[in-house]
């Protein structure tokens, strides 16, 4: 069955002349990918699962000692770890909500006939093409209390965006919103342009106002693709590391990814951090699953 799906080689092609069969070609493409996945993804995944039950420290030569579920027990009972989770949850909610509002708003603005639409769309997409670390670095400059352009522009004087423990997390989220709103915009734009025009005409005939049309026609029809954007952004926001790490080192901005990094590579608690990573993994999978369930429900119609 699998073989019949694969197209036969052209009898006169170069590959055929070199004596390669369909099967050989298939293997040539698939085996490197599979090997790569096993070596760099599957193996570390399983290996770290093993470490998560030990007190292994990569910085010493001491042999790893099996400690059972002790690492998990310790982490789940540690109130500082829970604070990291709370901070992360707050960050994810602010950042993803912001991105959806800004991104969807931009998509609504762009979903009409305007001059230079293509150029504007491309320019708006620039932020998400940059490296996270680079964005972190120059937003640090923008936020700078003494010469940052944000304080200058808003006339805030020497406002400490990143040093103020109450504001720093919002400042990091704002940077993330700036960077990733275009992503939501792009997907929303695809969703909006897929809504058939005649439905809007029908709604107009049915005397629906613009707000009613938006909530009852536009939003439900864009929901599936918007949901995909939200899933992607939630997963990404959950594991935010580089940008936040560069921007601020406040305890109030210590996201789980930063805590995990510190635990693994500054404190060298390899076993414990493996357990931590697994807790995070399970949480992300669980949250994503909620979204996917909802997405499937929406897609049913």
């Amino acid at each position: 069955m699998a073989l019949s799906v694969i197209a036969r080689l052209e009898p006169g092609s170069r590959a055929a002349k070199r004596g390669m069969s369909d099967l050989a070609i298939r293997n040539l493409f698939i085996i490197p990918t599979i090997t790569f996945l096993i070596v760099f993804n599957i193996f570390p995944l399983l290996y770290s699962l093993g470490y998560s039950f030990t007190d292994f420290r990569a910085s010493t030569n001491a042999p790893a000692k099996f400690v059972g579920l002790d690492n998990y027990k310790f982490l789940l009972n540690d109130e500082f770890i829970w604070r990291n989770f709370t901070i992360t949850a707050k960050y994810v909610i602010i950042s993803v909500t912001g991105q959806v509002i800004v991104g969807f708003g931009m998509a609504m603005l762009l979903n009409r006939d305007i001059p230079l639409k293509g150029l504007i769309t491309t320019l708006l997409m620039l932020p998400m093409m940059l490296s996270m670390a680079v964005v972190g670095l120059f937003w640090k400059l923008l936020y700078d209390p003494s010469f940052g352009i944000i304080n200058y522009g808003l006339g805030l004087g020497k406002f400490e965006w990143l040093a103020d423990p109450d504001v720093a997390l919002y400042a990091v989220a704002l940077t993330d919103i700036w960077m990733w709103s275009p992503f939501v915009m792009l997907l929303s734009l695809a969703g909006l342009s897929a809504v058939p025009k005649h439905l809007y005409e029908a709604a107009e005939i049915d005397r629906a106002g613009s707000f009613y049309t938006f909530t009852r026609i536009t939003l439900p029809l864009v929901a599936p693709i918007l949901m995909i954007a939200i899933i992607f952004r939630t997963m990404e926001a959950f594991k935010t590391f580089d940008m936040a790490y560069i921007l601020s080192s406040q305890p109030t901005t210590e996201l789980i990814a930063i805590r995990l990094y510190k635990m693994a590579f500054l404190e060298w608690q390899t076993g414990q951090s493996s357990a931590f990573a697994y807790i995070v993994l399970i949480m992300v999978v669980a949250i994503t699953n909620i979204y996917v369930k909802y997405l499937n429900k929406v897609k049913e119609r």
């Binding site: 005649h198 005409e201 029908a202 709604a203 005939i205 049915d206 629906a208 009613y212 009852r216 029809l221």
Partner: protein
Amino acid sequence: MAQIELKNVQKFFGPVQVIKDMDLTINDGEFVVMLGQSGCGKTTTLRAIAGLETVTSGEIFIDGVAVHEKKAADRDIAFVFQSFSLYPHMNVYENIAFPLRAVGMSNAERDKAVKEVAEILQITALLDRRPSALAGGDMQRVAIGRALVRRPKALLMDEPIGALDAKLREEMRSEIKRLHISRGSTSVYVTHDQIEAMSLADRIVIMHDGLLQQIGAPDEVYLKPANLFVAEFVGSPVMNVADVVLAASGGQIQVRLGHGDAGFHFPAGLTNHLKETGADIALGIRPEAVSLQHDAKDGYIPVETTNIEPLGSHDIVDIKLGDISLRARTESGFVSGEGQQVWVNIDPAQAHFFDRSSGLALRGQS
């Protein structure tokens, strides 16, 4: 219920004029069908009445109120789309209730109205289904239900049954007619199907190239076409049209077709008005007015059959007369095959004459 009036309406899409000098009054409670080929401007006219399309110039009145500047929502008109345009994420009940919810009608009233319309259209059993789970005819019923539920001033339909199969079309046609009679709503219906037009309309509006060709009751349009376009567009099979020469012969006039010497005899009274025109004249004759005989008879011309279309209830027989071909309607099995000798005559009372250059019908005083 309302009267709709179009006054000197013009519509341009860029340099292309799709509606030209449209003057039309649709009376209260009337069922008007706009008939024409695709691209003739009939749908654009309908959309202009609904407010989905702006007009370049001219005025549209509904019940004497100028509406051409108003938005569709403010015209209180319902529209049934060719593509049905049901809301895919709502079930049938929500679809029909949508226009009522949009204007904030109370729950109880809304429920009653929806149930009532569903009852009339016999879709009560489908109320909690989604449009994607409906058959074509039911989708159309829902679309009509959504249009009727708020008792609009007028109901506009854009080829509402064009997407259905032949049998269902016939069924829905009579259903639409029944609904119109029971509700008495002013209806404007666009179609390219003349059978639909003939069977539904109180009056037919025939359009071509953005221009009104003729407005009239179905039988009027059929029996007295105003010009060559209407004559050839209405009726199936199409009317025979041929250039003719008139020649006097005794007390009668001989109408010669196909550049031959043979001609049909017309009483002088029927052709008197043709003498003064001096233009090239075309004769239009419907197949049912062409009679065939097996034997020679006075006034009949011998011809040969070239093609037979047996249609069950009757046959359409093509005959060759000089260098033109005429189609005649005969009882089924009248002619057994091609290449047979038959005698042909036409009924002068059912003949139409047209001015070749202007296309206009030439009629006597009678």
